[in-house]
Amino acid sequence: MDQNIPQVIQTVPLQYYVFFATALFSIGVLGVLTRRNAIIIFMCVELMLNAVNVLLTAFSAYRSDPNGQVFVFFIMAVAAAEVAVGLAIIVMIYRNLQNTDVNLLNRLKF
């Protein structure tokens, strides 16, 4: 093990982070695919993003490379902006349809 890695992180092996992130990502995917409520889908997308964030942080720490953590900040910032826009859209949809079921939003098809 690298001497630069803090002790506290070394107590948990890297594989655990990978398994955890994978599980989190899979839950996110499952949620996006099965739920119809737009807000829940949004939250599941957040889960997926966070799974990636966890992985990035973990690898970054284990490799003593701060680049990964910088990326995490970027992802958070972008996700926050996206959520702000996305939620605004969902609010407008709710106002018009009294519902947030994504299956009702198929009016733009061919």
């Binding site: 995917v29 996006v32 695919l33 889908i41 994504v102 299956n103 939003l105 198929n106 733009l108 061919f110």
Partner: protein, 646 residues
């Protein structure tokens, strides 16, 4: 003798002076073209005439102050790698004479047109085209290299197309214009190839350089023969020789002053001019000269026989032009270079005169051109009659009118070269006198055969039309003294032109020796005058004493008469040989290749795109779930592919 090599000394006058010669008519073209409908016909005519008069004045000034040959470079035009083609003018004896001819006769035709086109609705357009025609011809004549010559060459081709089809509401006239244009293209292909070959051989297209290099070559080399033959193909197109002559009679569709301009001063002389210009090359190729002489003589005879049976007053003159051009080529072919130019000049005088005279007749007859409907016009149109009579005497070769001198000189050269060519020329002279006086007698003698209305309407033309006629008649009468025959002392013209032929003379001195003993010369003069008088006498007996009238279209004819009347069916032959197969091929290609192969290929690409779009639009379900599934499948695929890669 003066050396042909251009002296190092530049042009003695400012460049602007030379630029103005072609520029003035071009300005006239722009003004008349742009203000077409906004100015009256007379104003347009005055502008058109004034610009040509300006060019004429400059030409006269240059002619009177001419001392040595020189070129004027306006600007470097094409310079690519080693190829240098400057835009330059050449001022020498030949270009000066041609300038005088084009602007002088052109000016008279312009003045005449003011009266002739008075009633037309597009006078502005007419004068604009006419000026452009003169401009193109001036560029052709002035150019100091073959490429500028070619610009003018194409320019007159375009203008002839525009003017022949001037009355473009008539489909036949349009067809005549197209015919002139297309047949000229055939010749132009030869001319262009000739220029390319000149550049390949001499590495230059500048006259001075090409001729200097050529003057050191051997006589009869293959490459020179090829060049000259190709150039001659171009000349047959422009100057209406066999087999490319058929456009010229059809060119009668244009207004009569245009016919006069094309036939007398501009377009058809271009071929002669070009060969004269390149006389060194032609001297080097005796085989080509032989071809030229034979084609010239054949054309002269052939067209003259057709002229015997035409009933349209302008068609007779048209075939007469083809025939006279044949004479000029005959002269070129037997190396009577200056003689050929002499005939160009005299022919320009009397042919312009006769065309304008015919125009005057047509004007008076309210657009009737059929000789069978005329007769007895000499009382109603005295000035037209007298001037036309002078023109006929000139072309028939009656001394001392101009045509006699030039034709006699041609026949003399032909006689020295070959007795057969001489005989053909002499017989043609007889035919010429006959058909011209047939025309004269039918139109101006006997009783009037038109309608009462036409008879009532008969009038002499206005002064703007008769004045050019009178001037041209004077020129046609005395123009021959430019170059009197040898027995009367050598002529002015051939001495003046001699420097142009220095190289040719050095290469082939024998051909320039035209000394014959006086007895022979008198005999030849007697024969040619006799042929002319005989022709006139025949015509007089036939059409005045016996009062024969040409048969109506529907009547029966003998075999020969029918053949001549239908112009040997040459047009029909060309139609069957070239026009029909090409049209058939085009139609077949259109139906089977265009419609059957190319169109389906192109449309099938369109269909494919549309069908693909049709299919892909089902992907746009609007259901968010589908999109998400696709997204996930995409992610999985990307990952899977990544694993496969490693």
């Amino acid at each position: 003798m003066q050396e042909t090599v251009i002296p190092a000394a530049g042009a003695p006058y400012p460049t602007l002076l030379y630029v103005l010669i072609p520029l003035l008519p071009f300005l006239g073209f722009l003004i008349n073209g742009l203000l077409n409908k906004r100015i009256s016909g007379t104003v347009a005519g005055l502008i058109g005439s004034a610009t040509v008069l300006g060019s004429f004045a400059i030409s006269v000034f240059l002619f009177l102050n001419f001392q040595y040959q020189y070129t004027v470079t306006l600007f470097d035009w094409i310079s690519v790698g080693s190829m240098q083609i400057p835009f330059s003018y050449q001022i020498d004896q030949l270009s000066l004479l041609m300038l005088l001819l084009v602007t002088g006769v052109g000016f008279l035709i312009h003045v005449y047109s003011i009266g002739y086109m008075h009633h037309d609705e597009n006078v502005g357009k007419f004068f604009s085209f006419l000026n452009l025609f003169v401009f193109s011809m001036l560029v052709l004549v002035l150019g100091a290299n073959f490429v500028i010559l070619f610009i003018g060459w194409e320019g007159v081709g375009l203008c002839s197309y525009l003017l022949i089809g001037f009355w473009n509401k008539n489909t036949n006239y349009n067809n005549a214009a197209k015919k002139a244009f297309i047949i000229n293209r055939v010749g132009d292909l030869g001319f262009l190839l000739g220029i390319f070959l000149i550049y390949l051989t001499f590495d230059s297209v500048q006259y001075a350089e090409v001729f200097q290099k050529a003057s050191t070559m051997q006589i009869g080399t293959g490459v020179i023969t090829a060049i000259t033959l190709l150039l001659f193909v171009g000349a047959t197109g422009k100057s209406a020789q066999l087999p490319l002559y058929t456009w010229l009679p059809d060119a009668m569709a244009g207004p009569t002053p245009v016919s006069a301009l094309i036939h007398a001063a501009t377009m058809v002389t271009a071929g002669i001019y070009m060969i004269l210009r390149a006389n060194v090359l032609f001297t080097l190729a005796p085989d080509t000269l032989e071809v030229i002489a034979i084609i010239g003589a054949a054309t002269a005879l052939f067209a003259a026989t057709i002229g015997l049976a035409q009933n349209d007053i302008k068609k007779v003159l048209a075939y007469s032009t083809v025939s006279q051009l044949g004479y000029m080529f005959l002269a070129l072919g037997v190396m009577g270079y200056s003689t050929s130019l002499f005939h160009v000049l005299t022919h320009a005088f009397f042919k312009a005169l006769m065309f304008l005279g015919a125009g005057s007749v047509i004007h008076a007859m309210s657009n009737e051109q059929d000789l069978r409907r005329m007769g007895g016009l000499r009382k109603a149109l005295p000035i037209t009659f007298i001037t036309f009579f002078i023109g006929c005497l000139a072309i028939a070769g009656i001394p001392p009118f101009s045509g006699f001198f030039s034709k006699d000189e041609i026949l003399l050269h032909a006689y020295q070269h070959s007795k057969v060519l001489y005989a053909v020329g002499l017989f043609t002279a007889f035919l010429t006198a006959f058909y011209m006086f047939r025309l004269l007698f039918l139109a101006f003698f006997g009783e009037f055969r038109g309608t009462e209305e036409q008879k009532h309407h008969l009038h002499e033309s206005p002064a703007s039309m008769t004045l050019p006629l009178i001037i041209l008649a004077v020129l046609a009468a005395v123009g021959g003294f430019l170059n009197a025959p040898l027995v009367l002392g050598r002529g002015y013209l051939s001495d003046y032109l001699a420097p142009l032929f220095t190289y040719s003379q050095r290469l082939n001195p024998a051909a320039f020796n035209v000394e014959v003993d006086h007895a022979t010369e008198y005999l030849l003069i007697g024969l040619s005058v006799g042929a002319g008088v005989l022709g006139i006498a025949f015509a007089y007996v036939q059409y005045v004493s016996r009062g024969v009238r040409p048969a109506e279209d529907a009547s029966q004819r003998g075999f020969l008469e029918n053949l001549v009347y239908h112009k040997y069916y040459i047009d029909e032959l060309y139609n069957t040989l070239f026009v029909r197969p090409v049209m058939g091929l085009s139609r077949g290609l259109f139906r089977y290749v265009e419609n059957g192969i190319i169109d389906p290929i192109v449309t099938s690409f369109g269909r494919l795109t549309m069908g693909g779009g049709q299919l892909l639009r089902y992907v746009q379900t609007g259901s968010v779930e589908t999109y998400l599934i696709l997204m996930v499948v995409g992610i999985v695929l990307v990952m899977a592919l990544n694993f496969v890669k490693f």
